[in-house]
């Protein structure tokens, strides 16, 4: 089984927001970064993966199993880290371990205490006295202590300082080393991903824009800069989005060959960062807008 998570034509409607039919596969053994602006549907998608929300239509499968019949078996194999603290804030880490640990068949006290030591977490202090970074470390220690195959994280780096973010990313890289784990994490800080992600899934306004390897993205998308006089109704078709200024235009293309053919050397082409893509695709794919 190549995919640990499979969403097929999943939809969900809320007041004022809807998830369009989403198809998403998360590959086993890799880090997939899930990006999108605030409110794009990242948390909703993650909640459906965790069965905290039920989709209106479509199928959600984890490890090839569905939640209707295999809820416990699926969750045994998932470690979760959420944006905020979900643990009883008045309890200390030792008591939280007493509550969470027995829930898992494969809970491993040794691993847990090893992480507690590595992260320098106090065992007898209430979670509410922890800093944001320490809360994140505590969640991570718990998520990693039951030999989970899939680690799902919702905005784990949000609100962390840069040094701690880097530490966290290094740690994630470390836990990927044995090759048996899969990490799926959402973020809107795209620079986190350049460092560790193998695949990027991009959601925008409730719609999946792409789910490709970092390598493919670099090959498929480029930023194009040139004079405004080069643009007309036909040439614009090669771009996802165009940003015009008085000195020229900047645009994102997913059709590099066509751009090369049309413009040749009259434009400058460079690698598009994830942030560029998020910015240019904000208005929707194949939707040329003029700013």
């Amino acid at each position: 089984m190549e995919h640990v998570v499979e969403l097929k034509n999943v939809t969900k409607k809320f007041k004022g927001f809807s998830l369009k039919p989403i198809n998403l596969q998360v590959r086993r053994g890799f880090v997939t970064g899930f990006i999108g602006a605030n409110g794009a549907g990242k948390s909703t998608t993650i909640k459906m993966m965790m069965n905290l929300l039920k989709p209106d239509a479509g199928k959600v499968k984890l490890f090839g199993l569905d939640y209707q019949t295999h809820e416990r078996a699926i969750k045994e194999r998932i470690g979760f880290v959420y944006d905020g603290n979900v643990f009883y804030e008045g309890l200390n880490l030792k008591d939280i371990k007493r509550i969470v640990g027995p829930a898992y068949k494969r809970w491993d006290d040794k691993v847990f205490y090893r992480y507690v030591e590595q992260f320098e977490l106090p065992l007898n202090k209430a979670i509410k006295t922890f800093s944001k970074g320490m809360q994140m470390k505590a969640s991570l220690a718990i998520a990693l202590s039951h030999h989970a195959e899939l680690i799902i994280m919702d905005e784990p780096t949000a609100g962390l300082d840069p040094i701690f973010r880097r530490e966290l990313l290094d740690l994630l890289q470390e836990i990927m080393l044995d090759g048996s784990r899969t990490i799926f994490f959402s973020t809107h800080i795209t620079t986190d991903l350049d460092r560790i992600a193998d695949y990027i899934a991009f959601i925008n306004n409730g719609e999946m824009m792409f789910n490709q390897s970092i390598h493919d993205i670099a090959e498929n998308y480029q930023l194009v800069k040139g004079g405004v006089d080069l643009l007309d109704r036909d040439t614009e078709k090669a771009f996802v989005h165009i940003h015009r200024t008085s000195t020229g235009f900047q645009a994102l293309t997913d059709n590099i060959e066509a751009v090369k053919k049309t413009f040749g050397d009259s434009v400058v082409m460079e690698r598009a960062s994830l942030e560029d893509m998020m910015y240019y695709m904000k208005g929707g794919k194949q939707h040329v807008q003029f700013n």
Partner: protein, 201 residues
């Protein structure tokens, strides 16, 4: 499932120490033993909801390898377990203070608790979190204050019901009430499970 029930003890370990003086207070105030059994039974299960009504707790429980059916089952079974424990502790306290009590006091206290639980547990999952435990506690106090006089009123003004109850033999009456209590508790359990399965977090 056992872990879910045990969780309440871990969460409330310090509060448990406060519960004993509360029971003592009722005993010293010379309250009716049935009322003391009822109050003692209510403390742990309802205090647990003060933790459970938070959205984060539900996200946590539902992310762990538990099904929603199990989470609700642990509440309903846990309430019975903690009621048993509370009744045991209260018995000890009553004996220590040399206060007489009967088996029927226990049955009335336990029975009333189950009725109260049956009607209030679903509310915790229907209403928005934050206020409901306060509402239920106030509701309990009002019921405890007004309830007896309502019963007296019914007894005096509706002789049909009164006569019917009096005409039953004691074992029939007790069995009937016990069966009715169990039915109501089970229905409440089922309803809460359905509500909880539809909830989003």
């Amino acid at each position: 499932m056992f872990n879910l029930i045990r969780r309440d003890l871990i969460l409330q370990k310090w509060q448990l120490l406060i519960f004993i003086p509360i029971i003592m207070f009722f005993i010293i105030m010379d309250k009716h033993p049935a009322l003391i059994f009822l109050v003692a039974s209510i403390l742990i299960p309802f205090n647990a909801y003060a933790y459970d009504e938070k959205a984060e707790t539900n996200i946590l429980l539902n992310s762990l390898p538990y099904t929603r059916v199990e989470i609700i089952a642990s509440r309903y079974l846990g309430a019975i377990v903690y009621m048993g424990l509370a009744i045991g502790v209260t018995c000890l306290a009553l004996v220590t203070f040399n206060k007489p009590f009967t088996m029927s006091d226990m049955a009335i206290g336990g029975g009333l608790f189950l009725w109260f639980a049956s009607f209030t547990f679903p509310l915790f999952y229907i209403f928005k979190s934050g206020y409901i435990s306060t509402v239920v506690l106030i509701g309990f106090l009002i019921l405890a204050g007004v309830g007896p006089s309502v019963f007296m009123f019914i007894a005096e003004n509706l002789p049909v019901i009164n006569d019917f109850i009096v005409s039953l033999s004691v074992p029939t009456l007790y069995t009937g009430v016990a069966v009715l209590t169990l039915i109501i508790y089970s229905v409440s359990w089922g309803v809460t499970t359905i509500i909880y399965q539809r909830k989003v977090f």
